[in-house]
């Protein structure tokens, strides 16, 4: 350990720690643009200059390792002057177009101008201008706003392992560029937009959609594979507008893949189910929840009484939350006294289908909660169990499973709980509109066994409800009131009864999750 003093306060850190990290330990914030904990040190922006006793020059806090007895000042007059100088340099050729810049509101250049900059401008020469241009499918470059911190270059090079971006030219003509017009096309390309501390790199899919301070935001988990990358959902009205990575060193570091980032259109789809539907004379009619749930409960009871509980089968999916799966299983096992709820094993787990998978984040299983639904007691589906089935409760899509077609024709009752009208739902007597992951609270357990919370960024869409809530209401009509007042209470029950989840609650899961034991 090395002990040093920063702004008059003592701290002991590991040898090799840089000043910026040591300061962080003390809660002292040192401004930085080019420094990023997930990338190599570039020390090119010079905003993190600090005063180190006995060093003639100011030192960059991002690159300077601590030394025993070192005395650092992060707020001396010399430091303030240097910072102000750097801020001025960064702005002289900057277009100052904050009113129409997508980054406004989450721009370090703006924030630091406010904190460390100066009010007046003394630059009386002509600014340099550059035209914006596309770097790739998702990313647009506004060179005039760029501060050349090279985070984007380093990300492609160091994290993705592809040399796709570079600096070209010299002096104040330096620009970020692709090589020989080869577009920025790696599977993680949009991370450069999050990394960009200013408005130089913007996302084509998000630009001009919303001022960021007007976004509703929620910390959640990406539902696009079993990795469980931590994300920040950004929404406005009833639409998700963007998904950004949220740092979790134990899961995704600072990144998410482009597939996960842009895979939210199904939440925004205009054709989403908004009301329970009951089929009458071959046509679906919107009905109240009460009416729909009565029909479901009545039919499940009827089939159970006539054909025996084994003729009832629940079919879920590993896209359900732990809470959804838990109540589903309880409904079938404890209330209907039927067999375990089944779920189709995700394609990536049963075959060598060329699903995307890479060494960085993407996993073959493109569902978020395989581990969780198994822990809650759901059992992988096999077609042999459909022999005697008479009533089927499907939460998910069933049509592509082997044996589905024959089975669906012979059913006495089919209820489908889904986000949209699927091939299976078309055949059902009752269709129940479910909430998406972006509209409910719950938890996913990733492939490493980390239990993480999803949180709603959108209000309920129309008359949709969370899956667990629908299952609980069906149970109530069948005579069993679980008494769950919210997803949190379901999770409390999980933590009491499911091995591995003991002692967890939404509080302890926090924003980074917790490994089940």
């Amino acid at each position: 350990m090395v002990s040093l003093t920063i702004d008059g306060r003592q701290v002991a850190v590991d040898k090799g720690t840089t000043i910026i990290k040591a300061a962080e330990r003390l809660g002292i914030y040192i401004p930085h643009f080019c420094y990023h904990p997930g990338l190599s040190v570039a020390a090119n922006c010079r905003i993190c200059l600090v005063e180190v006793e006995k060093a003639a020059k100011l030192q960059t806090a991002c690159s300077t390792p601590v030394a025993e007895g070192m005395v650092v000042r992060t707020d001396s007059e010399r430091v303030k002057k240097a910072r102000q100088g750097v801020m001025e340099f960064l702005l002289i050729n900057h277009p100052l177009d904050c009113p129409i810049c997508d980054q406004a509101g989450e721009c370090q250049l703006q924030d630091y101008s406010y904190t460390y900059g100066q009010v007046s401008c003394r630059f009386g020469e002509s600014k340099l201008h550059h035209k914006q241009r596309s770097l790739g499918e998702h990313v647009l470059l506004h060179p005039s706003r760029c501060i050349k911190c090279t985070r984007c270059i380093r990300f492609c090079q160091e994290v993705v392992g592809r040399q796709e971006l570079t600096l070209i030219n010299r002096s104040n003509h330096v620009e970020i560029a692709v090589f020989d017009n080869q577009p920025l096309s790696n599977d993680y390309s949009a991370n450069v937009v999050d990394l960009c501390p200013v408005g130089a790199l913007t996302l084509k899919e998000f630009r001009f959609k919303e001022r960021v301070w007007l976004l509703d935001q929620a910390e959640s988990v990406c539902p696009s594979c079993s990795k469980g990358c931590n994300v920040l959902l950004g929404a406005s009205g009833d639409k998700i507008l963007r998904i950004k990575p949220r740092a979790n060193p134990a899961v995704n570091g600072y990144w998410i893949c482009d597939y996960g980032r842009f895979n939210f259109h199904w939440v925004n789809e205009p054709g989403r189910l908004r009301s329970p539907l009951v089929k009458s004379n071959g046509r679906f009619l919107p009905v109240s929840w009460k009416e729909a749930l009565d029909v479901v409960a009545e039919n499940l009871r009827r089939v159970a009484e006539q054909e025996g509980p084994d003729s009832l089968v629940g079919l879920g999916t590993s896209r359900l939350t732990c809470e959804d799966a838990f109540v589903f299983v309880r409904l079938f096992q404890d209330v209907l006294m039927a067999g375990p709820v089944r779920f189709p094993p995700p394609a990536g787990r049963v075959s060598d289908l060329p699903l995307s998978q890479d060494s960085l984040l993407r996993e073959r299983d493109n569902t978020p909660n395989y581990q969780g639904v198994v822990d809650m007691g759901m059992v992988p589906y096999t077609d042999d169990l459909l022999g005697g089935v008479k009533a089927l409760y499907v939460a998910g899509d069933f049509s592509k499973l082997p044996g589905a077609a024959q089975c669906l024709n012979k059913l006495s009752f089919l209820v489908v709980q889904e986000l949209r009208m699927t091939e299976t739902a078309v055949l059902a007597q009752v269709v129940l509109p479910a909430a998406s992951f972006a509209e409910k609270e719950g938890s996913f357990t990733n492939s490493a066994g980390r239990v993480q919370m999803v949180r709603p960024v959108l209000g309920p869409l129309g008359n949709t409800r969370a899956d667990w809530e629908i299952f609980a209401q069906v149970a109530k009509r069948l005579g069993r009131d679980f008494g769950f007042g919210g997803a949190g209470e379901v999770f409390e029950e999980i933590s009491r009864t499911v091995p591995g989840y003991k002692g967890m609650d939404y509080q302890t899961l926090g924003s980074l999750g917790q490994i089940k034991c």
Partner: protein
Amino acid sequence: MQILLANLDVPGQQEIETYINGGGYRGLRKALAEFTPDQLIEEVKKSGLRGRGGAGFPTGLKWSFVPKESSKPTYLCANADEGEPGTFKDRVIIEKDPHLLIEGIIIASYALKVKQAYIYIRGEMIRGAEILHQAVNQAGEKGFLGRDILGSGWDLDVLVHPGAGAYICGEETALLESLEGKRGQPRVKPPFPALVGLYNSPTVINNVETLANLPAIVNSGAAWFAGIGTKKSTGTKLFCLSGHINRPGVVELPMGIPLRELIYEHGGGIRNGRELKAVIPGGSSTPVLKADEIDVNMDFESLAAAGTMLGSGGVIVIDGTTCMVWALANLAGFYAHESCGQCTPCREGVPWIRDILTRLEAGRGRADDLEILLDVAGNISGNTLCPLGDAAAMPVESFVTKFFDEFKGHIDGQCCPFKAQPLSRVASG
């Protein structure tokens, strides 16, 4: 006292036979026969030899930073990317007496147990690169390079690598980047090249003139070398005389020679008998001296005490017909063009300075320009990733401070008072 230029005018000096006949490669033979590598490093330390590229760092000490035990090879790079305006001394050695450099490289490589050395030569020096290629080939034919050099069991290859025209590649870590085939821009230090240099391996980068001193140090001994010059600035120095001087060119003189003597005796005085106005003593980045400040000795310590630097030894003489605003605008233009653009203060600040000076010289100065110039230079100075920012800022601070009235006159009169005397442009341009 001629160590480096002694054989400059010998006909055919570029040929190895001529070089050997004049006593060449004796230093190498002696080094291999009489010194272990560690003893050689000690000898160079004792000689007091300091780097001739500008910074003046003790050469032996620099060598001693290379780890004695390393799983990686050690590399030596001869920095022949001579690009500082007003500096043209290395070029003379390269073109006129190339084997002096080659022999120096071989001796240094032996001391550092180097098996692969590079000469990174400025791209514009096409003739110099050709001469070095030939010299390397000849040295190989004579057994001074290649396998089992002079029966010592030690191997060494030298590769001549031309740069691509960037001034910044004379900065040692930018040189390494360029040598590795990357964009020429300086690295963050630490780590220093002695530990992590070329291809992540321990590397020593020495200036051409520095290396060319080694044969003489080995031949005549550290004590002899240390007896030349001053106590802390030992040996001779190549001075490049340029500007408004009667006899421009490279002269070799002991460290510590008075600047006045250098200009008026060795340089023949000011051209056309004009009055001296200013001298830039050590290459374009070193702070300027006014005419009444030239009673200073040309060694590292004396010039530092006078508020300037020995630098590369490029002495630029400026006479009374020269507009200092124009001269500084010219220098700023050079640094603005050569900034690699990597770090903020240099990338943005130096072109800003150039723009202000260009406007000032064009008669469009503003009242607060000088204050801004000094403040911007101050915000660059010491705050950049490599010394190029300092190099650009130092002349600004010294020119504006020392010739304040001339700068202010441009603003007050909204014109350049020297415009009526185009001669200075012809002379300096």
